[in-house]
Amino acid sequence: MIASESTVRVAIVVLSTIGIAIAGYLTVTEFMGEVPVCAAGGGSGCATVANSSYSHLLGIPVSVFGLAGYVGILASALIPGESGRLGGFLLSLVGVGFSGYLTYLELFVIDAICQWCVASAVVMALLLILCVLRLLTPDAIGSRDAMS
């Protein structure tokens, strides 16, 4: 049985808040010139990833894009109706696609794993599942504002 839309929206709010915390931490450490605390990869994985040439896009830390994405998904969960559903779906799909690319880089190009990036990728994947569920809830399928 598919959960009600309100339940799914609450779950999206919770998960996107966790995502904001992770991306926010990475953004703050980046701007403070510090290396994130890292328990995985012998402790040096996060430093390697943070210092790699892939850690910035157009000069902006990748974590800033992640932070913006999570904030957008959180906002979409607070917006009722089809625009909120589609917005969350769109953002989480972009998030999962880009997280997948970054994970590939960690595993096969940078040769280092950052636990925070992995955690973020998992949160984003769960958010995509929730956003798809939100699209499929009976409320969404039967909604008249689908056309609005």
């Binding site: 290396v35 890292c38 012998g42 402790g43 040096s44 430093a47 390697t48 943070a50 210092n51 790699s52 040439s53 892939y54 910035h56 896009l57 157009l58 894009f65 089809e82 589609l86 779906f89 769109l90 799909l93 972009v94 696609g97 880009f98 690319y101 190009v109 940078i110 040769d111 280092a112 699209l135 008249r144 689908a146 056309m147």
Partner: protein
């Protein structure tokens, strides 16, 4: 038999029912179109992000080797003989086992090396020895031999630091003669012709084999790895490879 009025009402009901059904179908089709549109936009956005990410400066460019003055500043006034940096009489030796193509080694060079040089090497508490531990294949071996040839002219550390600052993506084929020559030139190798012919010296292969054996004996299976030796014995550095961990290891063997 139904009256005319009843027939009219029935036809009207049927028409309304068909209209409602058509509306539902239309709504469903519009919704599918919206979702498909969102999906397409998302895919496009990911492609753009990946292209932008790949098109940034990834190093490894022979025509754009940079950082020479910063490296010169970092090593200014520090004695250097071969690949030994610092006072050769320092009673503690820090050996760095590193591969020039390795991103983690670059990360160490970028964020920790200056602290190690300032805190330990410049005050004469320890000397720092670079050992080419080739773990990433033929391009790393080519780079290591070029670095050794630079070290023969006492510019090995400049070469290594500059290589890391301009490091490309491993196995991407950026370790070309042109790239290595650009790094050697920017490192201030005084006799480039000699450096070029020295790169093929048979002695370097023996050197790399020796380092390989030593690293394996010490149990090192990744780079960078550090071994600290002093009057108090030998100490390995925790794998966080931070300057503070290296300082602790030096204290432990002084």
């Amino acid at each position: 038999m139904a009256s005319r009025k009843q027939q009219k009402e029935q036809a009207k009901a049927e028409r309304l029912s068909q209209e409602a059904e058509a509306q539902t179908t239309q709504r469903r089709q519009n919704r599918v179109r919206l979702i498909a549109g969102a999906f397409a936009i998302a895919v496009l956005a990911v492609i753009v992000l990946v292209v932008v990410s790949q098109s940034g400066d990834k190093g490894g460019s022979a025509s754009d080797v940079s950082g020479g003055s910063e490296v010169e500043e970092s090593l200014r006034g520090v004695p250097q003989k071969g690949f030994t940096l610092g006072d050769p009489k320092a009673n503690v030796a820090i050996s760095e086992f590193a591969d020039l193509q390795c991103p983690a080694c670059k990360a160490f060079a970028d964020s920790e090396l200056d602290s190690v040089i300032d805190a330990l090497v410049k005050p004469g508490k320890a000397k720092l020895v670079f050992k080419n531990y080739v773990i990433l294949g033929p391009d790393s071996e080519t780079a290591a031999k070029a670095a050794l040839a630079a070290s023969a002219q006492n510019r090995g550390w400049q070469f290594v630091e500059l290589f890391y600052r301009n490091q490309g993506i491993e196995h991407s084929g950026y370790v070309t003669d042109d790239f290595l020559e650009a790094v050697a030139k920017a490192s201030g190798v005084p006799d480039l012709a000699k450096w070029n012919s020295d790169r093929d010296r048979a002695a370097w292969s023996a050197n790399l084999d020796r380092v390989q054996s030593e690293a394996l004996r010490l149990g090192f299976d990744s780079t960078p790895s550090f071994n600290v030796v002093g009057p108090g014995g030998q100490s390995e550095v925790p794998s966080d490879n931070s300057a503070s961990s290296i300082e602790e290891a030096v204290k432990a063997v002084q």
